[in-house]
């Protein structure tokens, strides 16, 4: 019942892991050399939101008008209730219903 790991898998996943960890730690270590005020700081403060927005917008757009509706509902629910889980479920429900009905 205990499967063996193929050496190729060991290497491929190992390399992926090294790359990912280096990026995680590298960003943190490099940042301590960045300036802590002025324009650069403004950019770094805007970064988290901009990054998350960039992460989701193409996937929302890929679902078309209903994707936008689902995202809008998710945003409204999280603003009203501060409940991320409920907001997520509402968004998923819209997409589920749309796909079920084949819209």
């Amino acid at each position: 019942m205990f499967p063996a790991i193929n050496p190729q898998v060991l290497i491929a996943v190992g390399l992926a892991a090294c790359v990912t960890y280096s990026l995680r730690l590298g960003g943190l270590l490099l940042a301590s050399r960045f300036p802590r005020s002025g324009r650069f700081r403004r950019g770094m403060d805007a970064l988290p939101g901009a990054l998350l927005f960039s992460l989701v917008l193409p996937s929302i757009a890929a679902e078309g008008v209903w994707g936008l509706m689902a995202a809008a509902l998710t945003a409204i629910v999280v603003l009203r209730t501060r409940n991320t889980l409920a907001a997520m479920l509402c968004g998923m429900l819209v997409i589920f219903a749309v796909r079920k009905m084949g819209l």
């Binding site: 205990f2 499967p3 790991i5 193929n6 898998v9 290497i11 491929a12 996943v13 390399l15 992926a16 892991a17 790359v19 990912t20 960890y21 990026l23 995680r24 730690l25 590298g26 960003g27 943190l28 490099l30 301590s32 802590r36 324009r39 650069f40 700081r41 403004r42 950019g43 770094m44 403060d45 805007a46 970064l47 988290p48 939101g49 901009a50 990054l51 927005f53 960039s54 992460l55 989701v56 917008l57 193409p58 996937s59 757009a61 679902e63 689902a70 998710t74 945003a75 629910v77 999280v78 991320t84 889980l85 907001a87 997520m88 968004g91 998923m92 429900l93 997409i95 796909r99 079920k100």
Partner: protein, 239 residues
């Protein structure tokens, strides 16, 4: 030292919603992995060593009997370039912490617990243990989600019918809303969104995430320095 355990528990609790969504799209990954013939050990090795959702999706997609090791590493690097930015944004949280502490904490930083921690930092006080507690909890949820999908794959052959693939988008939309800072975010978000959509259309893979994030940050740097904006930035705790 004394704060370690309560902070970890607080972090884990704050991550319950994102962990639920990670479980949902983790199960989607598990189903795909089962179709590619990954064993549960392959899956857990990947979950533990890489621990990055989007990258794991692409890796499973590229999985074959002759692993394309070079292409896979390159793809993972491009997808995970955003961790350079994520890591950099955590610098204020880690101020005063030593190298070993930083090295130990950073592996379990994923999009989810990072976003929750950034929100917490804006609203009150986040700590590195809060981040780490969230990471541990997320790791458990992500692993169980992927294994449920992998081992019970026959159950749900088409997870997209249940919109499980949209869980990722929905939860990160909710998290993005939580990071909105008001007027000073209008320009960066418009620029970021436009850059992301363009890059998504014209560039391969996942370049759009980094392209959008960087474009948004740069526009905030270049933008006019309004007095209000400076005040808002100063309101953010811990700077």
């Amino acid at each position: 030292m004394k704060q370690r355990k309560p902070e970890m528990i607080r972090g884990a609790r704050a991550n319950v919603p994102v962990a639920a969504s990670a479980m949902a799209y983790g199960s989607v990954l598990g189903v795909l992995a089962a179709q590619k013939g990954l064993s549960w050990l392959d899956m857990m090795y990947m979950n533990t060593a890489v621990f990055a959702g989007a990258a794991q999706f692409v890796m499973v997609d590229m999985w074959s009997n002759h692993m394309p090791i070079f292409e896979m590493t390159l793809a993972v690097m491009v997808i995970n370039l955003r961790y350079l930015l994520i890591g950099a944004s955590l610098d204020p949280l880690f101020s005063g912490r030593g190298l070993l502490h930083r090295m130990g904490m950073m592996h379990l930083v994923a999009d989810e617990n990072w976003a929750v921690t950034m929100t917490e930092q804006r609203n009150g006080s986040a700590t590195t243990w809060f981040l780490f507690g969230g990471g541990v909890f997320l790791y458990l949820a992500w692993s169980s989600g992927t294994l449920i999908g992998l081992l019970g794959g026959g159950f749900i052959t088409r997870p997209e019918d249940y919109a499980l693939d949209f869980a990722f988008t929905a939860v990160f939309t909710a998290l993005a809303v939580g990071l909105w800072r008001g007027k000073s975010d209008v320009l960066p978000w418009i620029v970021a969104g436009a850059a992301a959509l363009l890059a998504h259309k014209f560039l391969p893979g996942k370049w759009y995430i980094v392209a959008g994030g960087l474009a948004g940050a740069i526009s905030a740097m270049m933008g006019p320095c309004e007095i209000e904006e400076v005040e808002e930035v100063e309101d953010v705790p811990s700077y």
